[in-house]
Symmetry: C2
Subunit: 293 residues, 2 copies
Amino acid sequence: MDAKPLLQQYQQRVEQQLKTVLSLSGDAEKIRQAMQYSLFNGGKRVRPVLVYMANQLLGGKLEQADAAACAIECIHSYSLVHDDLPAMDDDELRRGKPTCHIAFDEATAILAGDGLQALAFELLAADTTLPADICLKMISILARDSGYRGMVGGQSIDLCNEGQQISAGQLELMHRYKTGALISASIELGALSSNHASDNDLQALNDYSRAIGLAFQVKDDILDIESNTETLGKPQGSDLLLEKSTYPALLGMAGAKQKLALLNEQAHTSIDYFKDAAEPLHWLADYIVERQY
Amino acid sequence: MDAKPLLQQYQQRVEQQLKTVLSLSGDAEKIRQAMQYSLFNGGKRVRPVLVYMANQLLGGKLEQADAAACAIECIHSYSLVHDDLPAMDDDELRRGKPTCHIAFDEATAILAGDGLQALAFELLAADTTLPADICLKMISILARDSGYRGMVGGQSIDLCNEGQQISAGQLELMHRYKTGALISASIELGALSSNHASDNDLQALNDYSRAIGLAFQVKDDILDIESNTETLGKPQGSDLLLEKSTYPALLGMAGAKQKLALLNEQAHTSIDYFKDAAEPLHWLADYIVERQY
């Protein structure tokens, strides 16, 4: 199956949706512009695509997944803005464009990230297509998975690890928090948005998201070494410069590629349970592994 | 009426509640510690007190207000951590103690703020004492009032105003966003937590919170000039150094005090509607105006 048209359909859908989430004007115009700039920075919208795919897998309606798709992207977007700050990764470019604190200023970038996080929860709370208890469950999951027991915790572990020699187990733990948690949340919110998710469904999807989440990161590490700055939109080898532990550094390039293949296999196996309905998710697992940027 | 014992009871209650909101241990220990440090920095817990008072005014149960009280304090606490950062106000002391980025480091302070914001929404979503639709409404209000159309928007306006000559109207607009929005949210969430709030109740309380919110700020501006560093816990006159517009600067000290008296009167009038039941809120309005730190 080639699910690329589906991927593009979902990408376009979330682009359209995101255009409506920020009020057109207001008293605080500069911060609105900085949030807008950060939301529309050419991202691949992988997480919203996951939301829609999980929603469709379980027979949901796409409009029930819109709030979750936008909320997850707001969280992802805020995390990039804060991650790029001088006190964090100190990146001046993201996908070839000036990062928020370069295009605006550092204080505005901090506030834009804060505003995007609040917006994520506002969007979920305002959703009228789903029962209130489902919306609450989504908020609960997103708050946990983006907070200190999720994404933010992973970023902190990452900072603590910098310049340290760590094990493959510690590296996996860090990534499970830092990027894995939000990818899992995407799948889980998408499943919940169908209003038809059973415990077995959620378990299978959870196994899938853990595998693709880590695969995504291993692939990123490989690309950071093998790709060039132009394709990547950030300086090639920048992880090495920051003395960050990576899979190629820990396992060697061959070992990292072996790990990637194993995770891809796990991803496929975990969703066999859904039979043909899971074809887009199978395709996406391969897409993550085979992408060149 | 002397509502000081009530104030202390509510302060102690939220202290106890806040002690339980962070899991005891986790993989991301450093960030948990930084969040803990920021939550317990000797704050007066004014906003949680407002939550409890509004809850009690409308005949609610205190336990129904616990989640809102803690959530609001998490938001307030995160905003202070980010406000103190070098790129923002660059403060090394808060209430006589090192600010989060001094006690830890800048990256950790950014992340601790982010984690506290997520925690606020997690707490509201996990509340089981209220119907789901009430919890959603609370989340919606808190997200809006702490986001770019509220607190974060106000901080951005404040930054844009720095070094500029602005009018009293612009100053009021900025404060209504920057501090007023979260004070209004405290009262509104407290009222909603009673599960008995009518539109008239909410309107009267909204007028009250707008008045005390601005009064709080005018008083802060006055104290920044009249108080000394030891009482204030931050360098005296620090707003002047940052070339921030203040009420005494715009209206003169006598004008600022007149404004404060007028706002206090408005606060009292707005809650006459509740008769004797509002005595603690009357007391609190006076307390805000008369405090010495």
